[in-house]
């Protein structure tokens, strides 16, 4: 029973982290109908930026300052990176080409940027795994009843939930959120109604990337190392989470993330413990067979 509860807690924390990254995929898809494959590399790059910032701010000696400061610096840097990627890689392609090309060209560019960033990281930082400073002290835990949970895990879960609720409020309650939703429904109409589409898209990239940065720093604080290929495994799971929840749907991405996190941890308790991703993909396929648009997605019929 203890094992099960522990796995559940770990799964929720892991899932919250996956959800943070999944949100970036989902938001960008919502406004641009583009799968931004470079997103997982933004995650990886921000892990490095977070590491350098954390260390510069004193690391384990000043946990609070380093933790908060490092995370904020990583988030700012990541949003700049997101905006740059959009400006350099995707915007020049927008509205060009015809038919299926309008979708495929940016997709290929996204893959290209992903490879570019991964190799750049290897060049800049080396292929070596870099250990993160231990902010919470090794083995620190929070007690709830007689269950002990790792402090890092509790911090991750709380931080992620707070941020996700904040995002939900932004999208539902603010002018920016409204323009974003308008853009996602119909770009042409949104522009005619006076929405500055370029600015909304750039902001979407900035927010998505900074969420990935938050996820990256939390991830590394919990799981200890940064390395150039770290975006691959978490990126895959986050992408699956976004699709599972219904890509383009923000609540769906959160739900998908938590679901995948918990499912993954449960598999680890069975004798098929080496096949977490196999199960994750089986679940994805099953869900898509029943609900092609994902759990919370709505299948829209495109009008011709």
């Amino acid at each position: 029973m203890d094992k099960l509860i522990n796995a559940l807690v770990t799964g929720l924390a892991q899932g919250a982290m996956i959800a943070l990254v999944a949100l970036g995929y989902s938001m960008v898809y919502g406004v641009l109908k583009l799968i931004n494959f470079a997103h997982s590399e933004v995650f990886m790059m921000s892990a490095y930026i977070g590491l350098f910032a954390l260390t510069a701010l004193g690391g384990g000696a000043h946990p609070l300052l380093a933790g908060v400061g490092g995370t904020v610096i990583a988030m700012i840097a990541a949003s700049l990176m997101g905006i740059t990627i959009e400006r350099v890689g995707y915007r020049p392609l927008r509205g060009r080409g015809r038919g299926p090309l309008t979708r495929i060209t940016p997709l290929v560019t996204a893959l290209g940027i992903s490879v570019l960033l991964q190799n750049l990281a290897q060049l800049l930082f080396g292929a070596k795994y870099r250990p993160y400073p231990e902010l919470f002290g090794a083995g620190a835990s929070v007690h709830l009843g007689h269950y002990a949970m790792g402090t890092s895990r509790v911090v991750i879960f709380v931080a992620s939930v707070v941020v996700m609720v904040g995002l939900e409020l932004i999208v539902k309650r603010t002018w920016f959120g409204k323009s974003m939703r308008a853009l996602s429904t119909n770009e042409e109409a949104a522009r005619l109604m006076g929405v500055n589409t370029s600015r909304v898209i750039a902001t979407t990239f900035a927010i998505g990337s900074s969420l990935a940065a938050l996820g990256a720093v939390l991830f590394c604080l919990d799981q200890s190392q940064a390395y150039p290929t770290m975006g691959v495994i978490i990126g895959t799971r986050a992408f699956v989470a976004a699709v599972l929840g219904g890509i383009g749907n923000i609540t769906g991405a959160m739900l998908g993330g938590l679901l995948i996190g918990v499912l993954g941890e449960m598999v680890k308790l069975t004798s098929y413990s080496g096949g977490v991703d196999i199960l994750v993909f089986v679940v994805l396929i099953l869900v898509l067979l029943v609900r092609p648009a994902g759990l919370l997605g709505t299948a829209r019929v495109e009008k011709v």
Partner: protein, 383 residues
């Protein structure tokens, strides 16, 4: 002239490139013997390749300073396979066909040694791998040899050490499910440990690339093992050690294989793993005369302790040079026969004899992590 400008230009470029290519592959002068080495000098495994090269370089210079082989100097040509198997195949072909190498050294990763070994076997040129431990590397490959132990030998020795020396009866096993090295070593350990009368209380594989080990560790801990055998690479081990600490498991209960051997392990989790043991090819303070001579000259040249990859690179080159000296002539076939006849060759990583399967019969070192350093503990011969 203008009209044919483009065609003339293409022709000129082609001519120049042909000249350059043949220039790059210029045959050596008659007074040098060419040995080819293919290594991962760039890409994710670049430290493997560069460490090995330092050892090989040292061997080459020592040999040439002592007069070379049969009055000729030996030149080792390096090719970078960029840590990929495709390039390993290409580079070995180049070294043999273009450069006329009489023998090949390489690789570290078993997958790339398999690829390169296939080419060597087909072209009937002997190859010596410094550190590929997978059993299949030399299997049915008449021209492929190794100076390191195999995973089968390593797993058996680790099991015997845990059972007989550490006196543990209930042991867990934790490995990467999708990795040949890790799961292979785990299987041989398990079989050997059970044969000795020990009990495997928990046996878990994890997914390659996994970074969150909390749930796995909770499961391992619940089975109450006295020790856990974790034959994984050092990067994963750093994460496992850190998360084990949070799970309240002492680092000293972990036992590893030669995948642990890296300064990065000490940097990332040296304190946490204080007291843990792992099987290895060598330790900087191993009490063998040859090792100490090697460590001294290596330190003098490079200014730091050699890794075991460097020591094995040195041994692979030295074994090859030794066989070339004993061969009736410096040609691939004769070198291969001499390599197969190697007996009691004293290397930096122990005294070895090449057996009928072209594997090295040699002592395996058990290393303990002490004060953030690798310290020699004991040595065992595989049975």
């Amino acid at each position: 002239m203008l009209k044919f400008g483009r065609r003339a230009l293409v022709g000129a470029v082609a001519a120049v490139s042909v000249a350059l290519l043949s220039g790059a592959g210029c045959k050596p002068k008659g007074d040098e013997i060419i040995v080819g080495a293919y290594l991962s000098l760039s890409g994710p495994d670049s430290t493997f390749g560069t460490d090995t090269r330092e050892g090989v370089d040292l061997a080459q210079d020592e040999l040439n300073a002592a007069g070379g082989i049969k009055g000729k100097k030996v030149k080792v040509l390096y090719e970078d396979d960029k840590s990929t198997t495709q390039e390993a195949t290409n580079k070995v072909q180049q070294l043999i066909d273009r450069d006329g190498a009489v023998a090949i050294l390489g690789e570290v990763a078993s997958s790339r040694s398999m690829a390169g070994g296939l080419v060597c076997n087909k072209k009937k040129v002997p190859m010596v791998t410094p550190s590929s431990t997978a059993v299949d590397v030399t299997k049915d490959r008449d021209y492929v040899f190794r100076v390191c132990f195999t995973d089968a030998q390593q797993g058996e020795v680790a099991a015997r050490f845990v059972h007989d020396t550490l006196k543990k009866q209930k042991v867990g096993v934790f490995f990467v499910a999708q990795d040949t090295y890790s799961s292979g070593l785990a299987q041989t350990f398990k079989a050997a440990f059970q044969k000795l009368g020990g009990e495997i209380v928990v046996d878990k594989g994890y997914q390659k690339g996994e970074t969150n080990f909390t749930t796995y560790l909770g499961d391992l801990k619940a089975a109450n093992p006295e020790a856990i055998f974790v034959p994984v690479y050092y990067n994963d081990m750093v994460q496992i050690a850190r998360q084990a600490k949070s799970a309240g498991m002492p680092g000293s209960m972990f036992i590893g294989g030669d995948g642990w051997d890296s300064a990065n392990l000490l940097e990332g989790a040296g304190e946490l793993l204080e007291g843990a043991y792992f099987t290895n090819h060598y330790a900087p303070d191993v009490p063998w005369q040859n090792s100490q001579t090697f460590v001294a000259s290596y330190k003098k040249r490079y200014g730091h302790d050699p890794s075991s990859l460097a020591a094995q690179g040195y041994d692979a080159a030295m074994l090859l040079f030794n066989a070339m000296g004993r061969a009736t002539e410096v040609k691939p076939e004769a070198i291969k026969i001499a390599l197969a006849a190697t007996k009691d060759f004293a290397g930096a990583t122990g005294t070895l004899t090449i057996d009928k399967d072209h594997n090295a019969n040699k002592p395996i070192v058990v290393v303990q992590i002490k004060n953030k350093k690798f310290a020699y503990s004991t040595q065992l011969l595989a049975q």
